[in-house]
Amino acid sequence: MTRGLPAGRIGPTEGAVDLPPDDTGEAIGLSASGLTITFGFGPALFRDARGRDRFGIADRQPEALRTLPHFPADVLDPERSYGDLCVQACADDPQVAVHAIRNLARIGFGTVAVRWSQLGFGRTSTTSTSQSTPRNLFGFKDGTANVKAEETSDVAQHVWVADGDDAKAAWLAGGSYLVARRFNMNIEIWDRQSLGDQEDFIGRTKASGAPLSGGTEFTEPDFSMPGSDGPVIPRDAHVRVVHPDFNDGVRMLRRGYNFVDGSDPLGGLNAGLFFIAFMRNPDTQFIPVQNRMAKVDALMEYVKVTGSALFAVPPGIGAGEYVGQALFA
């Protein structure tokens, strides 16, 4: 499918009239649209809720691959959280991404079952210097300071699990951890905040994305620059709270998406940011930053986390190999 070919051997319309097609057909005539598919393994693939070895691989469970702890403001829906495996399909055309997921789920019936799925749109973070920074549903540029593919030493330091990181899970070297968090935004209440307050919550201007300490979008924030009442970038501004300077230099490769799942029962938009981030070690990266954010970030007034999951993403595969071969071999 990543080459624009059908999901099955025969094709959506090429087979016998008395059989269901082995490709569902909605991608007929569409290109591969940059489709990528990423697989991950959840903690429950290794051990069940009672800690028993499920598939004889418990001794290879990575140290950091545990159910994420409860964070303040987590209102998790178990039906939108956790999972043994994850499949992420990304494409420039939503129809192509949905086609991939639908056909993979169909092939898997009997071996796997779908626990939850989330459709996102409009990437909220740049992951390359060649992209302009997109906006999240708060209307702000998001991911200005993200780790970029071109920053190879940062990618090596913060994103990829290295040889020797985890003696039990040598198979994960060259892979990464994927944290998925469904941040529901309190859209209607956010929209009633004044422009100045919104900018103070984020710590950047809404128009250009420049830090409130001045300059343009990519100017480094000056957290010590004084303002009329404390620093000009407030102490609880999002950009300050999650900045590497205040988090032991920690960075993550964020690859989040906006989502809108219709309306909630009271007519509010059921929408927000589907946060996805890749990192070398959630214990030292995501978990401490999320705890700090939940405690002091001004944005927490306007979000509620309804879904959460952690997966270990094995390294990419070469010709003739299968996903996670080093784990199962």
């Binding site: 303040p72 399909a89 990304c90 796997v112 303002g227």
Partner: protein, 385 residues
């Protein structure tokens, strides 16, 4: 047989970059009521030293290296007609201000120190002359005073009823404690935005179980609420000793709050923001039934938040009436419409239990909250303009 693995499917579809960028509209140079201001470390340049009376817009750009501020001051160079703060280097912000004919002083304050760099500014008479009311300051003073009185009075009642409540609770008079619980909380909810401004007291007093962070001890109203309306299974009631601990703790924190509240003074924008904030409390917690998940007394809190918002607004009403009569009328109507829905849920001893409301009724309440909260979000800007 192996249990099928449960799969999480994540779909994500980046959108292609937008084809064209929006180009910001060029300055409307024909608009004589828009003045560009360029603030540098040692200068304050205005595109014009005068403008016709009416609603003026100052587009302030900081070309200096320090954070700057811009002020429009009265003729005496002291009275602040309008101000915009915290403009970082290379950033712009707007000041929109309603200015009648007269002499003014414009000032940039790079580095936010001293008197700033000043220049005379003249507003000439025009057909859009804003009406001036000599009563303005008097209206403001009155609003501030009555709000102060209101908060102090609510705080006094809160202390008295909390004292009564914890006494009943520690004595094991649970029925009476349950009856008093929502009545005591009304006084907290009416001034909730003030109470919450004390970041150390709020989590100890009003935290819900779901808000706790790991290691945080759960104390306050909702801890006792759960003990008085315990879940059917899996709950161990608090011992007499534990009850005494939580009761003393709550009363102590409420008394500390009261001590601080008595010393507070307010500004009109704080009152207006408080009014808006109380409606946000309704929208995010009360209308969803998340505040009182054990007692289901959410409608008491709901009414109390609305009471507090209305009192705050009513103090400011003469100012709003004068500056934006249309907004005043809308707010009046929408407060009334919301109150009518709440009145329909009143019973002899208070309100219908939240879990008895039908979905349609909750929906109606939510719609009425939105209808009021939206125009209420303009209140602050109007009263300080």
């Amino acid at each position: 047989m192996r249990k099928p693995a449960l799969v999480a499917l994540l779909l994500a579809t980046p959108l292609l970059a937008a084809c064209t960028e929006n180009v910001k509209a060029a300055d409307d140079s024909g608009d004589s009521r828009t003045v560009s201001v360029t603030s540098t470390d040692d200068g304050c340049e205005l595109s014009s030293a005068q403008a016709p009376s009416g609603t003026l817009t100052f587009d302030v750009t900081n070309d200096g290296s320090k954070v700057t501020e811009f002020y429009l001051l009265g003729e005496d160079g002291q009275r602040i007609v309008g101000e915009v703060e915290n403009i970082g280097p290379q950033l712009s912000r707007q000041l929109v201000v309603s200015a009648p004919e007269g002499d003014y002083v414009a000032a940039c304050k790079p580095g936010m120190e001293g008197d700033g760099i000043r220049a005379d500014f003249t507003v000439t008479g025009s057909d859009q002359e804003p009406s001036v009311s000599a009563g303005d300051q008097q209206q403001v003073d009155q609003a501030l005073e009555s709000y102060e009185d209101y908060v102090q009075d609510q705080s006094d009642q809160l202390v008295a009823k909390t004292r009564q409540f914890v006494e009943l609770y520690t004595n094991g008079e649970d029925d009476a404690a349950r009856a008093l619980y929502p009545e005591a909380r009304v006084h907290w909810e009416r001034i909730e935005t003030v109470a919450e401004s004390f970041g150390d007291l709020d989590p100890k007093t009003d935290a819900r179980e779901a808000d706790l962070e790991p290691g945080q001890k759960w104390t306050g109203w909702h801890r006792i609420e759960k003990d008085l309306w315990p879940p059917a299974t899996g709950y161990t009631p608090l011992s007499t000793k534990q009850r005494a601990f939580y009761a003393d703790d709550l009363l102590g924190n409420i008394e500390t709050l009261d001590g601080r509240v008595q010393k507070l003074t307010y500004t009109v924008d704080q009152i207006a923001n408080g009014s808006r904030g109380l409606l946000e409390e309704v929208a995010s917690g009360k209308v969803t039934g998340e505040e009182e998940i054990w007692s289901h007394t959410d409608l008491w809190d709901f009414q109390a938040n609305v009471d507090g918002a209305r009192v705050g607004y009513e103090g400011l009403e003469p100012i709003v009436e004068h500056k934006d009569p249309e907004l005043a009328q809308t707010l009046e109507e929408r407060f009334a419409a919301l109150q009518k829905l709440l009145d329909a849920q009143k019973t002899d001893d208070g309100f219908v239990s939240y879990d008895r409301l039908s979905h349609a009724e909750v929906r109606q309440l939510a719609n009425a909250v939105n209808a009021l909260a939206e125009p209420l979000s303009e209140l602050t800007a109007v009263v300080v303009s």
